[in-house]
Structure formats: C-alpha cells, structure tokens
C-alpha cells in the first residue's frame, strides 16, 4: 500500500474521529442517551463494514474475471497453435516478471490476435484448395461428388495437411488434364470423322454430353462421358469403314466401266477424288464430305448411269460382235443353221432374258470356232474361188464365142482376144481343178467327219452338178456344131438359088439370157441378191431390137424376115408374126394382135418411152428368196421378170367413134372398157 492510501486512511480515520467527535459533541448537546448512542455507533460500524465487504467482493470478482480471460486466451492460443501445428507460445512463462493479471492479459492478447489471423489465412488456403478439388472432382467424377462435404475439419489446419490437400489437388488436376486431353483427342477424331462423313459435329457432341458442346465452361470429363465419346468415335468409324467400302466398291465398278467404255478423261476427272481413294485405308480418307451420304448417292447415281450406258453399249457391242461373226462366216462361205441367230438376239438382251456379257462370250467363242474352221477351209476355199473365177471366164468365153462379130476390129478388140485366149487355157484347166478340188474336199470331209458346205450347199454336190452341166454343154455344143453344118449347107443352097447371103445379124439371144455356168443351180455367191444380172446390156439390146422392129412394122421387110418367108404365109401376117417374135425377145412386150384382119394398131401398144426394166423391177432380195417349190397352199406372187413369151391381152382396144374413120393418131387415145361400151350403147340408141 502506498503512502497515499495510508495517508488517505489516516486522513479518513482522522476525518472519522473528527466526525465522531463532532457527533459526540452533537450528542452531548442533544443529550442523546447512551443506548441510542451506542446503537447509533453500532449501526455506523455495521454500515461501514457492509461497504467494505461489498468493495472487496467486487475486487475479488474482477480478479477472477481477469484470470479466466487469461486462461481462455491462453487456451485459445494453445488451440490455434496446435491446429496450425506450431509450438505453443507460453506467454506467462516468458513473462515471469510481468506484474498483475491485467498486464498478463494484455501481453497474451496480441499473440492471440496474430494467431487468429494466421489461422484465418491458413483456412482460406485450405478452402481454396478444397474448392478446387471439389470442382475438379465434380468434373471428373460427378457420380460420387457431394457438393457440401468439406473434406477436412478445422482442427487440423497444419501445413502438412495443406500439403496433402495440395497434392491431392495436383493429382486431380493432372487427372483432369489427362482426361481433357483424352476428350480432346476424341473430339478431334470425332470432328474429323464428322467432317468426312458429312455429319453435324456439334449435334453429335451434344448428344454425347451437352457440356462438351460449350466452348468455355467446365466440360464433363467423367468416365462415362469419355466412354460415350469413345463409343461414338467407334460408331462413326464403323460407319466410315462401311461407307468407305461402299465407295471403294463403287469406285472400282466405276473404273471397270470406264475401262470398258473408254470414257473420256474429262468425264473421269470429275470422279478423280473417288477413284483415288480406291485403295486408301480407313484413316487415309480425311477429305471433308468424301463419305457423306449425299456424295455416296451422287457417286452411286453416276455408277448407275454408267451401268445403264454400259447396258446399251453392251447391246451395241453384242451387235457388233454378231456382225463380226456373220462377216467371218460370210468370208468363210459358212452358212450355219438358224440356231445361233436367235441365241444372240438383241431382243433377248433387251428383255433381260440373256446376260449381254454371257452372250458376248458366246459370240466370241463362236467367232473363235468359226475362225478356226475358216482356217481349215482356207485352202479349199481358195481353190473354190479359183474354180468359180474359171467358171465365170468360161461363161464369158461362151458368150464371146457366140458373138459373130467378135473378130471385128474395134477398140479394145485385141484385149478381148487376149482375154479369150487366156480364158480358153483356163477353161481347159477346169476339169483338173474340179478333180483336185473334189479330192481335197473328200479328204477334208473324211478328216472332219462332216460335209464341206459352201454358202450352205455341199461343195461336192456343187462340183458334181457342174460336171453334169459341163457334160450337157459339151453335148449341146456338139449338136450345135452339127446344126451349123446343116445350116451352112442350107445357106449354100440358098446362095446358089438367090445369090445373096443373109446379113450376119447378131442373134439377139446371144447375150440375152444370163448364162449360168453352174447350170440350173444358182451359183452361190456370198453377195446374196447380187447374183441378179444387171439388165443394162439387155436394155440396150432390146432397144435396138425394138428400133429394128419399128422399121419392120413400116412395111419394109428386112432381109432377115424375108429369109423367114419360106413358110409361105402372107407377107403381112408374117411381118406381124415376126414382130411378135421380136417382141418376145425383149423383156417388155406390148399386146400382140391376134385378130386376123384387124389392122387397127392397138391403142395400148403405144411404145413405152421409159426403160423397159422399170415395171419388172422386183426387190432384189425377193428374187433370191423366191422358193422353188412352195410347200404351203398359198402361192407366192409371180414377181419374176416377165417371161419372154408372146403373151396377148384378151382385151381388144379399139378407137371410139365411128365418125372418125381414119384416126390420125389412134395410138394417142386409149379407152376403157366402159367408154367403149358406152360408145356402143349410144350408137345403138342413135340407130
């Protein structure tokens, strides 16, 4: 206690004493009884005691409070320290010299504050890390993510713990980046696949997980997402492989078709990107849209188009090959039975009954066999050709021999002479040729075991026929020679009688009938209908013949007709007859007049100005098709050349009117049956 307090107490005690003295005085004065005084004094003493006790209690309580605060602070400090893993701070020990509880408290508080701050900082660190962990975890494993769970309690905020958490965070981050990379990879592949396949990438990704589509913001990186991504990638890859195979199929068929049809390069260029992928593996096809459905269908349509083109071209090809086959056959003078023609009919291909490729193969096979056969026949065919040529020469020679003017010197006569000379030599060789040919053919037939046909006819029989015809001809020649001898005799007699010689008029028929060295059977030429003789020379002859006839009709009889006069018929009639004879020789004959005494020139016998062959022109093909013996009841029309016989028309055309006794040009007017009938009718009416 300080002196001031003692002084105070002394002062107080003096004051109390003085006051007591004063009270004593007062009392003395008042005369208070002693008891009252005593009581008063007791009261006073008690009251004083009361005040003291209260004050002491108060002080006591304050001290206890302080002590508790200090303890609490120390406890907190210790707690914080332990939580933070720091050594506890013993403020009391270090501050032994500190006096009083208050000072002690004051000493602890700053420590405490500091520690508290530290703790908050540390916590914040923790929270930060934890937040990050939570976020990553939410991204990685959304399934077992509990958003409100704090992974650590506040009691342990030590650095080690923090380190642990940080490590965890780091590992999570690593995992996340791994996954992210994975996802990115998947997305990249997905994107390229989508590009190639022409599928909407965003849509695909959105279907896998909506979060992947977002440009920023957290993406869902969970296993399931990755799995789904992977499966999506796989799926698309499968699709890609499928489509690629399809495209490659199409491309290969396209290439085939191009090769087959020689498609121009410009057309091919358009599909270069398709065909270039023909051998590519799945990962090599990266170009966008190469495998999109649109593109595939585009390529497919092109292939279809080419297929159709091919189908039509195939038909052409088949036809081409067919004609080639025919050509080969024709050249080899091979006539096949109908068979194959129907086999390769274009109609069948068109109707889809026959596969063009197969037909083509068959035709090729046929061509091969025909070629082979042609080769085996070549030798004989050459000989046949020579023989036929010789026959032709023979025919020519025969005609030539009949030409009585053949030795008349004219332009080119020496050439004809030469030709005749050569022909004679050739003709002499024919029998030998025929024999050689026959033996060859026989050998061939023996070897092959089948008949050697030439344009459908058996060559042997042709040769036989020829031999027979030749024999016949020889006989005829002989006969003619005899006849000529006879005629010469006759001529000599006539000369003796009349002293004139019949003019050497050319027999009209010498060149007329197309001589056929093959006799009755048609010489089989591969030219088909061309066997028909061109009638040109005939026209010329008939014209001259007609001219000759006209002059005869004028009444002046030519010496030749006079020569025929021996029959002793009236001159007029004879001239008529000869004229019919002459007419007979021309292919077109006018109506012959048969009524004796009817001298009116026939109205219908007007000379026809145009060429004589016009009317009788028949389709050449028909001439060759004309069957010799129709097997059916129906008969073919008589389309052949008008036979050169003197036909006559029963109709007797006459001029119309009686009042024209001398029709100046009776040939100018023709009348129909009805007109003539009417004329008679009217004449009767008038009569």
């Amino acid at each position: 206690m300080s002196c001031a307090v003692k002084d105070q107490l002394q002062q107080m005690s003096t004051t109390c004493d003085s006051l007591l003295l004063e009270l004593n005085v007062i009392w003395d004065e008042v005369g208070e009884p002693d008891t009252a005084r005593d009581r008063m004094l007791l009261e006073l003493e008690q009251e004083c005691l009361e005040v003291y006790r209260r004050k002491v209690d108060q002080a006591n309580r304050c001290r206890a409070q302080l002590r508790q605060a200090i303890a609490e602070a120390e406890a907190e400090l210790a707690g914080i320290c332990s939580a933070m893993g720091e050594p506890p701070v013993h403020v009391r020990q270090s501050n032994q010299k500190l006096q009083g509880l208050r000072e002690e408290l004051n000493a602890i508080v700053p420590y405490l504050e500091e520690m508290r701050k530290k703790k908050v900082e540390r916590w914040n660190q923790f929270v930060d890390v934890i937040e990050k962990i939570k976020k990553i975890a939410a991204e990685i494993r959304p399934a077992d993510f509990v958003p409100f769970k704090v992974p650590v309690d506040q009691a342990d905020l030590s650095l080690r713990k923090l380190e642990d958490l940080t490590n965890e965070l780091q590992s999570l981050q690593k995992e996340k980046s791994d996954r992210l990379r994975q996802v990115m990879e998947h997305l990249n592949t997905l994107h390229s696949l989508c590009e190639v396949l022409g599928i909407d990438f965003k849509q695909t990704v959105y279907e896998v997980h909506p979060s992947l589509d977002e440009a920023e913001g957290s993406k869902n990186l969970s296993n399931s997402t990755i799995e789904r991504l992977a499966s999506a990638v796989n799926k698309l890859r499968e699709v890609k492989v499928q489509r690629m195979q399809k495209l490659q199929d199409l491309a290969s068929s396209m290439l085939e078709l191009w090769n087959l049809m020689d498609t121009p390069v410009e057309e091919q260029q358009m599909f270069q990107n398709v065909t270039s992928n023909i051998a590519a593996s799945e990962h090599e096809i990266t170009e966008p849209n190469t495998l999109s459905i649109d593109f595939l269908s585009y390529v497919e349509s092109e292939v279809l188009r080419l297929e159709q083109l091919k189908a039509s071209k195939m038909k052409d090809l088949v036809l081409k090959k067919k004609t080639e086959l025919e050509e080969h056959r024709r050249r080899a003078h091979l006539i096949d039975e109908e068979g194959y023609a129907a086999e390769f009919s274009a109609e069948a291909i068109e109707a889809g009954l026959a596969d063009p490729a197969m037909v083509l193969e068959q035709i090729e096979a046929h061509i091969a066999t025909v070629k082979e056969e042609a080769f085996s026949r070549k030798d004989i065919l050459e000989k046949v050709e020579r023989w036929l040529n010789a026959c032709e020469e023979e025919a020519w020679l025969e005609d030539y021999n009949k030409d009585d003017n053949r030795y008349n010197a004219g332009r080119g006569a020496h050439l004809t002479l030469k030709r005749a000379e050569k022909a004679r030599i050739l003709v002499n060789k024919i029998p030998g040729m025929v024999d050689v040919l026959a033996t060859k053919v026989v050998a061939w037939e023996k070897e092959r075991g089948k008949e050697f046909t030439y344009d459908g006819a058996r060559l042997l029989s042709m040769l036989e026929e020829y031999k027979i015809v030749r024999q016949e001809k020889e006989l005829e020649k002989k006969r003619q020679r005899d006849q000529k001898k006879l005629q010469d005799q006759l001529k000599a007699e006539q000369e003796a009688l009349y002293g004139s010689k019949p003019s050497p008029s050319k027999p009209q028929s010498s060149k007329k009938a197309p001589r056929n060295s093959m006799g009755g059977s048609n010489r089989r030429l591969s030219l088909g209908g061309a066997t028909m003789q061109p009638p040109k020379t005939d026209i010329l002859h008939s014209k001259t013949a007609r001219a000759a006839k006209k002059t005869e009709d004028m009444g002046t009889l030519s010496p030749s007709s006079r020569g025929l006069d021996i029959a002793g018929l009236p001159i007029k009639k004879l001239s008529f007859n000869t004229s019919t004879l002459r007419e007979a020789e021309t292919p077109r004959k006018p109506f012959a007049q048969i009524m004796p005494g009817n001298n009116v020139p026939l109205a219908t016998v007007r000379p026809v100005a145009n060429d004589t062959d016009e009317e009788n022109r028949t389709p050449k093909t028909f001439a060759t098709l004309n069957p010799k013996t129709p097997m059916t009841v129906t008969a073919p029309m008589q389309l052949a050349m008008t036979p050169a016989v003197a036909n006559k028309v029963i109709a007797t055309p006459v001029s119309l009117f009686d009042e024209k006794p001398e029709p100046t040009l009776p040939e100018e007017i023709e009348y129909s049956f009805e007109e003539r009938r009417l004329a008679v009718y009217q004449a009767r009416l008038m009569a």
Binding site: G456, K512, V600, P630, M637
Partner: protein, 415 residues
C-alpha cells in the same frame, strides 16, 4: 393394109363367149426357151383359130384344172346359172352387166349399179339376200358409194349426174352433182363430209354434203378419170394415159404428187393401203402394182402378175382391201378372184374361174362377205357381147379366216 381400119373390128372368134385356153400339152415355159415358147404361142394361136372356126366352146372348170385332164373338155351351159360351192347367188339377177357394188358401212345392205340404168339394193341376212329397193338413172350407172352413216347411197353414171338416194328414209333420189361427161367414180369422205366425183370430163369435183348446188372445188385432171380410191387423208385418182394423181386430203386443193403408173398399161382399178402408205394399182394387162407414196419406200414397190392363164392375159378389174386383215382381193376379166397378202408376197387363195369376167367386187364392212358380180365387162369389145345370152349375176362369198388372214412370210432360209 389395103382395108381401112375398122373401128369395131370383126370378132376374130365368133363364139359368144370364148373362154379359150391352150390345149392340153401346154408349151413348157422354161426360162431359157424364149424362142421355143414364142413358137408355141404361135402354134396355139393357130390352133385356137382353128378351133374357133369349128365353133367349139370350152370353159375351164375347177375339176378340169385339178385333174389336168383336158382331152374331153366339159361344156358348161352358158344359160345355166353358174354356181360355185363357196358362193351364194343374189337373186333376182340384174338385167345387164353390173358396174359397181358397194356395201353399207353400217349394215349388210348391198347396192349394185348396172348398165340397165338401175340401182338396186339387197339386204343380206344370214347368207340370204332379200331385194329391198331400187331406183334408176336415165342412162347406165357406173358407180356407187354409201354415206358413212349408212342412210344414203350416191350413184353416178352416163347421165353425167350424181344422185343422192336417201334409201333408209325412203326418200326419192335427187341430183346433187353434174359433170360434162359420164361420172366414172364417186367416193364419200366422212372425215370431210364431202362427196367426191370423178368423171370422163377430166375433172374431179368435191361437193359439200350436197346441200350446195355448186361444187366446193373442181380439180382438173390430166385425163379422164378411170379409178379413184380414198383412205383419208390419202386419195389417188387414176386416169387414162396411166396418170396417177395423189392427193393429201389435209390439203385437198392441190395435187400432192402426180406419177406415172408403175404399170405399162391402162389403169383399171386402185386401192389405197389401209395404212395410207401407198396403193395398189391394177392394169388391163393382168398385173398389179404395189406402190408406196413415200420415195424412201420405193424399194418396197413391186408388181406382180395375176389373172393370166397360160398365154392369155386378162384385165384386173377390182382391187379390194379386206377391212380387218388388210389383205386384198383381186378380180379379173378371167372370171377369177384371188386373195393376196402383199406383205408376205403370197397368194392366199385362188378360186376357180367363173365363166364370165368379174367386173367389180367388194367386201362388206366387217369383211365377212365378199360380193362379186359375174357378167360381161366389155373387155373383149362389142363383138363378144351377145345381149341375148349375156347373163349377169351377183355372188356372195364368205371368206374363211385362212383365206384372208395374212401369213408370216415363209422362212426360206438363206441362200
């Protein structure tokens, strides 16, 4: 040559109707025996004359043909009614030669025009004919045509008129067209509602439905009209001098084409193809030409001979296309009619000859009846016509399908 040429020459053969053929030993007509055949012709000519002088008449009959036995020629009485097994006769017989026959396009009404100025109509029911009606002109009638509704008949003839006879309504005929010369051919063109008449006055006239007195159009022809055929839009007119004038009726005012007949002799009859691609032309020289209009089809043209016997050549008088099968019939002065198929170039059926020529024939609208007249057609002139013995008859033939249906060309193989 001292005699003046007579216009109507004396008949060389005095038989009323000499249907002469060569004797039994027919001269062989080989291809190279030209001289020989000519001589044979001469021979047969002489023989015929001899026979004619002896007055023997001879008609070939189917039996004779088939048997080939000709040593005893059967004599078919000329007065008897000729009957073939496949034909039925229409009675009563017309009084003179029939000039045209036409069937109604709607029913089996048959109209015949004849030289006795008559136009007669029969109804054919189940093969039997019933006379229905008749009318007459002042002169011989030459042609007839039905209107497409089958109510009216047009007829034209030597009175230079065309008469319209509303047959079904029972009306009286009235003159609807006049020419300067006899009307030889008429045709009704339903597509144009037009009557066309061709005459020997060298014109072709078109009359609108006959309501007008004046012709719509007068087409000058190069010569007298002898034949006419219409298959819309194709019309061909055949005239004397072998002119053929082709009209495209879509442009009827102008000639489409004028050609010379592909045949060398007088045009006797015409028939347009059912497909309008061309026409048949028959001539007096037993020949029929198949001709296409288009020059590109010239290669398909051809001619063929028919109505000949041995060396005798007869006129082709009638050409009729079958309305269904598009084959055609020819009838000729030899008294025969044949069915042909131009596409397969075949004769489908040949019928035995009648004793007299067939001047005209026609199919009915469905082709089930072929009507033909058998009578003298003046093909041998007046001298061969004896009115006393001349007989005119009309026959109906029901063609079997096999006779008129075209056959595919016989496969002849390649030669």
């Amino acid at each position: 040559m001292d005699r003046r040429p007579k216009i109507w020459p004396e008949p060389a053969v005095r038989a009323p109707w000499p249907r002469l053929t060569t004797d039994g030993e027919d001269p062989p007509t080989s291809a190279f025996g030209t001289l020989h055949s000519a001589a044979a012709t001469l021979l047969s000519d002489r023989r015929r004359r001899r026979r004619a002088a002896s007055g023997r008449r001879r008609f070939p009959s189917p039996e004779e043909k088939s048997s080939g036995d000709s040593s005893t020629p059967p004599i078919i009485p000329t007065s008897g009614c000729f009957r073939t097994s496949h034909s039925r006769q229409i009675l009563p017989n017309p009084g003179d030669s029939v000039s045209s026959l036409s069937f109604s396009p709607k029913s089996n009404l048959l109209v015949a025009t004849s030289w006795d100025n008559q136009v007669r109509c029969w109804e054919i029911v189940g093969g039997n004919s019933q006379p229905k009606a008749s009318t007459s002109h002042d002169q011989p009638v030459l042609c007839s045509a039905w209107k497409d509704d089958g109510t009216t008949v047009f007829s034209g003839g030597c009175d230079k008129q065309v008469k319209m006879w509303p047959l079904l309504s029972g009306g009286q005929p009235r003159t609807v067209a006049m020419h300067d010369a006899p009307v030889k051919e008429i045709a009704w063109i339903p597509q144009m509602n037009l009557l066309v008449s061709g005459s020997w006055d060298k014109t072709l006239k078109g009359y609108w439905d006959t309501r007008q007195a004046n012709p719509v159009h007068v087409q000058q022809l190069p010569e007298r009209c002898y034949a006419l055929t219409v298959n819309y839009p194709l019309m061909i007119v055949g005239t004397a001098d072998r002119h053929l004038v082709v009209f495209n009726l879509q442009n009827p005012q102008t000639e489409f084409k004028r050609i010379q007949s592909p045949l060398k002799y007088q045009t006797r009859c015409l028939a347009a193809f059912p497909d309008q691609q061309g026409f048949l032309v028959g001539s007096i020289e037993g020949r029929v030409g198949v001709h296409h209009i288009d020059d590109a089809q010239q290669s398909k043209n051809f001619t063929f001979k028919c109505h000949r016997e041995g060396n005798d050549i007869f006129s082709v008088n009638s050409l009729n296309f079958h309305p269904v099968h598009h084959t055609f019939a020819t009838a000729g002065s030899d008294g025969a009619f044949n069915f042909w198929d131009k596409d397969s170039k075949q004769r489908l059926k040949a019928f035995s000859r009648c004793p007299l020529p067939i001047p005209c024939s026609t199919f009915n609208s469905d082709g089930s009846i072929f009507a033909y007249a058998v009578c003298y057609d003046w093909s041998r002139g007046a001298e061969n016509h004896n009115p006393a013995t001349a007989k005119t008859s009309i026959y109906l033939h029901s063609p079997q399908e096999s006779e008129v249906k075209g056959k595919p060309r016989i496969a002849t193989g390649r030669k």
